[in-house]
């Protein structure tokens, strides 16, 4: 490719101008001769070309020479292969398998028959299908990166594309999680570190789109995006720094389009069994109710069939009533119990039992916290529609004995607190069926 070279005229943090005696195209990448600095052509007027820095301009000096390669982002990202961490410009950062594991072990053989989602018991709350999008909305203790690392570690998809917006710590956390899931060689992490200039971060949606297009055809694929809110705020920062006109809601006019780009990466199952599922996190602003306050959040249900709004309860995240999508049996029971408890449909005696049952139920089924030490050991005990019917039958015939039974059960379940959710669920389902179902389950 013929190289076109020009010298830098002026530099400030948000724009670099050069004089070029050759034609340039808007969106073309320019690289400094030492390869340290990247810019993208934003505008040109006669010979004066304005570049938007994609890398800190301190790598550039007045009079430095800049090469116009004529290469686009598509071509750069087209060279990315599985198992790597790359940045928005397609530069190789490290291999996913290079992350040190410390005392954690790497499991290379994923247990068969497990969910691709990695949402543990939270996934059972909703009925999820491959090729769908799931939005998690809330303020999880420790932040979304911690929660998404948990998801990345327990997912069982064939390949994973992950967008990491944190520093080294979050990046290593994700890489460790992917190694733990045994998918290090079949994953790509797009890393957008916080110290990149806003223009570089605004490329994230485009880069994700290109990566998703290039790295296709690998069975059941999962795309994880930890925090859409943070990404949108970076777009806002980009809008203010680049002079892109802002809408009255404070976001640049491209935000709406880019949001659609990033949320529409999922793909339903094709004839040959390939699919792309997607989980995105959205942290809402402190002190506001989630769905109404953010100008773009109300658009979420348009893209995501399932949204789980998370409430914090004693450091566990429990789904809130505002969640949307189709509930699984366990979700229906949980919702119904909460609703009936709230409107006071139970007599005082049963109410106490339901109170205990609810706390027990919360512990058993919908407890999912990124800082919870419970982990899924692959044993799957379904809480199906029969369990749902059985529970309601027992609730209808509840008396004082029922209350005592629940308390006894809770004692038994809690004394197994170290054995994780599946063991506790066994105990619960056995109780529900009066021990008759034990042989079938084990």
């Amino acid at each position: 490719m013929d190289k076109r070279i020009a010298s830098v005229q002026s530099i400030c943090a948000e724009s670099v101008t050069i004089e070029a005696d050759f034609g340039v195209a808007v969106g073309e990448l320019a690289i400094s001769e030492d390869g340290q600095w990247f810019g993208v052509v934003q505008s040109h007027k006669r010979d004066t070309v304005r570049l938007l820095p994609l890398e800190l301009p301190k790598f550039l000096k007045s009079g430095s020479r800049v090469v116009f390669t004529g290469e686009s982002l598509e071509e750069r990202l087209g060279r990315v292969e599985w198992g790597n961490v790359v940045d928005t410009l397609g530069r190789h950062v490290m291999k996913v398998s290079d992350a040190a594991m410390g005392r954690e072990t790497v499991s290379h053989i994923a247990p068969a028959g497990n969910s691709i989602w990695g949402l543990k018991s939270l996934g059972e709350y909703m009925e999820l299908h491959e090729g769908e999008g799931v939005a998690l909305i809330g303020t999880p203790p420790g932040g979304f990166p911690l929660m998404f690392a948990g998801i990345a570690a327990s997912q069982r998809a064939d390949s994973v594309i992950l967008l990491c917006q944190g520093g080294y710590r979050d990046l290593y956390r994700y890489c460790r999680a992917l190694r733990k899931s045994g998918r290090a060689e079949n994953s790509v992490v797009l890393w957008v570190p916080p110290w990149l200039p806003p223009a570089s971060k605004s490329l994230a949606s485009r880069s994700m789109m290109i990566l998703s297009r290039n790295l296709s055809g690998k069975g059941k694929r999962l795309i994880l995006i930890d925090d859409v809110h943070y990404w949108l705020e970076s777009l806002r920062e980009y809008g203010e720094s680049s002079g892109e006109p802002l809408l009255p809601d404070g976001y640049p006019y491209t935000a709406r389009r880019q949001l659609a780009e990033i949320l529409d990466l999922k793909q339903p199952v094709t004839a040959d069994g390939n699919s792309t599922s997607m989980i995105v996190g959205w942290r809402y602003q402190e002190g506001f109710f989630s769905l109404v306050e953010h100008p773009y959040m109300a658009r979420l249900p348009r893209f995501m069939r399932t949204g789980i709004v998370l409430e914090e309860s004693a450091e566990s995240l429990i789904p809130a009533a505002a969640s949307w999508g189709k509930s699984a049996p366990v979700g229906r029971v949980w919702k119904k119990l909460n609703h009936e408890y709230a409107v006071g449909e139970f007599e005082e005696d049963v109410r106490r039992a339901v109170d205990s049952l609810k706390s027990l139920f919360g512990v058993l089924f919908v407890e999912y916290s990124p800082i919870s030490s419970d982990f899924d050991n692959g044993e799957n005990v379904p809480f199906d529609e029969e369990c749902e019917r059985m529970l309601y039958k027992r609730l209808e015939n509840a008396d004082t004995q029922f209350y005592e039974d629940v308390l006894k059960l809770r004692g038994a379940v809690l004394s197994h607190y170290r054995e994780g959710i599946p063991a506790r669920r066994h105990a619960f389902i056995n109780w529900l069926f009066g021990g008759t179902r034990k042989d079938e389950e084990v």
Binding site: Q9, C12, A13, G102, G167, R169, R176, G250, R410, L414
Partner: protein, 403 residues
């Protein structure tokens, strides 16, 4: 820092805190320069734009009378500048040990571990400072090198902190203060110096306990810095930039074998009745502690999941904390619905309140007291602790043990 003697005395334009300097060769954007007047005063400036042979410098320091003809501008400065991209650290996971502060509610419910990053959200500055000084006392007892960075400090506070430092016998070591009347660059210097010193001590193999007061001031300085560089940012967008800046500092302090424990304070978590938007920054930290309006510890915080092989007390603390949180929300709901409290519930609430209010640092804290407070309630209302443990620890000292 190398001091490169390159400079220019050709200042072509001067307006407000802005200088246009001609022929200052070899400068790079964001470089620091030293501006010297003929009276011998020096100021720090930042290069914010380079246009061919001219460069635009913003003075971030001082507001003296300047005369264009007598100014000398030198490239470089004796000030420290931290790297704008943190160095790549090894992705190791250290095995943290428990940090005992001697503050009973903290050690029993929110045990901190060495090398953690802790976000403390207070209600008022005065009470937050009280808690901060207790924590520092506790850290000192653990033979750590204490390092306090206090930004935007008033005279009164500075005096008070000086007294505390003197009482602890530290003679100014590890104390980095900037005064409220300082201009921007001097205001931020203690932070950079503190970070440098903390890293230096950690590299020498010492455990460092670093405390930064407080995030609100730091955010204000960050915005002031943006404005001085001539950028327009809304508060929300500035907050995003500040979050990025904070990540850079956190990354710098990490990776020293878990030797640096950092506590950052947000002294006012409510502003005009609304939660401060800076609370969002807590996601960057490992632990989150909330202070109540009375100055005690509130139950809303959290600490991270204990790694396998961590002290058993951390696991128990987590269990107790979750139980206490659940009880609190249940009792709050009961109060809201105007249900009467039972005698046991009243006793529990009073005992818990007193326990959380006691934030003095006094030696080793015994987790037994929390079990005993829980023991005031009937076993049927405690859904998150194993009954066997409750029976073992929850009995009064001289009571019968029923295992």
């Amino acid at each position: 820092m190398t001091y490169i003697r390159r400079g220019s005395s050709n200042v072509s334009e001067l307006s407000g805190s802005s200088l246009w300097v001609e022929n200052l060769t070899g400068v790079v954007l964001d470089d620091l320069v030293t501006i010297r007047t003929d009276r011998g005063e020096t100021f720090v400036g930042h290069v914010v734009e380079i246009d061919g042979e001219r460069c635009h410098v913003r003075i971030c320091d001082g507001d003296a009378v300047l005369d264009r003809s007598s100014l000398q501008v030198w490239v470089g400065s004796e000030e420290i500048e931290l790297p704008s991209v943190p160095p790549k650290i090894a992705g190791h996971i250290s095995s943290p040990s428990v940090l005992h502060t001697g503050i009973a509610p903290l050690d029993t419910l929110f045990p901190l571990q060495h090398g953690q990053f802790v976000f403390v959200a207070g209600v008022t500055l005065h009470r937050s400072l009280g808690f901060a000084s207790s924590m520092l006392h506790g850290a000192l007892a653990g033979h750590q090198w204490p390092c306090l960075v206090s930004l935007d400090t008033s005279e009164n506070e500075a005096e008070e902190i000086g007294d505390v430092w003197h009482r602890m016998g530290l003679e100014g070591e590890g104390l980095f203060l900037s005064h409220s009347r300082d201009p921007l660059y001097r205001s931020m210097a203690p932070l950079r110096l503190g970070v440098e010193a903390a890293i230096a001590h950690a590299n020498e193999g010492r455990d460092v306990f670093m405390m930064v007061l407080d995030l609100e001031s730091w955010f204000r300085f960050y915005q002031e810095d943006l404005a001085l560089r001539g950028y327009y940012r809304s508060r929300t967008s500035a907050l995003n930039g500040f979050k990025n800046e904070l990540v850079r500092y956190i990354e710098l302090l990490q990776g020293h074998k878990g030797r640096i424990t950092v506590v950052m304070l947000l002294s006012e978590r409510m502003i005009a009745g609304m939660p401060s938007e800076l609370l969002e920054l807590r996601d960057l930290f490992d632990s989150y502690l909330v202070l109540s309006s009375e100055g005690g510890l509130a139950l809303d915080g959290y600490t991270p999941q204990p790694l396998p092989g961590t002290d058993r007390s951390v696991e128990y603390a987590r269990m107790l904390r979750r139980q206490c949180k659940e009880l609190k929300s249940r009792l709050d709901a009961k109060r809201r619905d105007e249900y009467p409290f039972t005698a046991a519930e009243r006793a529990y609430e009073t005992a818990m309140r007193e326990f959380l209010l006691d934030t003095e640092s006094r030696g080793i804290a015994d987790p037994k007291c929390v079990w005993q407070i829980l023991g005031l309630l009937p076993e049927s209302s405690l859904g998150r602790v194993p009954p066997a443990l409750l029976r073992e620890y929850g009995m009064p000292e001289h009571g019968e043990l029923d295992v």
